[in-house]
Symmetry: C2
Subunit: 232 residues, 2 copies
Amino acid sequence: MRKKPRQGRSRSMVDSLVEATAICIAEDGLPAATAARIAERAGVSVGSLYQYFARKEDLYAAVLERITVGLKALVAAEIERLPNKSIEDFVRDLLHAVWSYLETDRQRYLRVTRYWAQLEFVAVMNDLERQMTTALGVYLMHHPARRPVQDLPTKVYVLVNSVLFTIVRYISEPSPQARREQIIECFAEMAAALLPAPTKRAGAGAPLKRLPRSPAGRSGTSAPPAARSVSR
Amino acid sequence: MRKKPRQGRSRSMVDSLVEATAICIAEDGLPAATAARIAERAGVSVGSLYQYFARKEDLYAAVLERITVGLKALVAAEIERLPNKSIEDFVRDLLHAVWSYLETDRQRYLRVTRYWAQLEFVAVMNDLERQMTTALGVYLMHHPARRPVQDLPTKVYVLVNSVLFTIVRYISEPSPQARREQIIECFAEMAAALLPAPTKRAGAGAPLKRLPRSPAGRSGTSAPPAARSVSR
DNA sequence: GCCTAATGCGAATATTTGTTCGCATTCAAT
DNA sequence: ATTGAATGCGAACAAATATTCGCATTAGGC
């Protein structure tokens, strides 16, 4: 950022600029997110834009940062609740939370993320993977299964990638075949298969609380209590 | 395409234009793949370019088409060999083949695919999903497991997405933690978990041959002719 | 070898885009 | 109210880009 906003009005202008950038990218695509259009959407002049952002790429970076902060906080919060859950429930709840978050404001963030290659979104994913790997490593240490988990970093890498990109693509092509709930369920199943934890009915002395898996899972944004395929 | 190339020289020019486009996108990114630069790389003039492609987007489409044709053929070939394999081996071999294909020529195609959002790559993925869903549907009908597979389209949707995007991202961020072989193994495991086939030692009357799961899987791009899973 | 259609060219044009700069306006402290 | 700094503006400029067009070159049947 070229200059720091000291007064209130400039701070709010910077804010609305970042938001306008997100909207422009989400609604008209990254190539259409030009300086003039962003300024217009934010209701300021291009001159003002360049007073706080030296290059328009800095604006993109600011948008990414905004997305990242919320995402990391959300994941951290979910990880806090991990110790008392099964992996399957953890993944389910995490996915509901992430999906809802990325979907707010007409899927604004989700649509921005489509341009991950040009927005250095990979750095964010790296962070998320690290976060998840350590958390799951600790969890698996406390809940050892008969067959130990091999290659945890690889599995987390694959899972995080798969989850995020599948969600991102889902808004590009919602696929009437696959509904959101089913996809989440699918990932929960995948994670459980990849990271075998002790079976629920007989935790090996582990402090795993028996959770009476509610039929609709945790309340998502607006998920109807549809009939859910009961596993096990 | 604006005009059809009738003579040999124009056909080869169109060809080199498409290739140059792929190289430009792969090496310098989609925004840098401008008409002038593409023409220069192809060794022709911009005028000639616009004689066969009305808009530069048509060039992008041609590149995508070229990638698609190879990919579909490859998948079809792998599907042909599916009936005699386990799901796990099928996924393993398919992934090796797809990965090698996308990696040829300094990962040209792989790098192009990073811009899937702006290249309508989703249509390709839709096709692939359809192809896979029907093939796996037939397979599972012939190799019924005790617990029938639910929601096959969803699972294929998730798997195809996950595989492709994970491969694509792998070239953006190879992650020293996860090597290619491990990732493929991981996906094979995931697929096997999601699509339960009869256990190998006792196929329920199914013509599934017992395959001696080789520890390193099948040979990759430039591997020696190692012990390969024999088909029938 | 001739002739016509196909092909290839690249300077020229109209837009679009990123970025700057001098000047007007507003704030906050005195 | 005064004043200096912060803020906001948008016309203006340079560079890049997509696309066109009239003209030169070439191929291939006769």
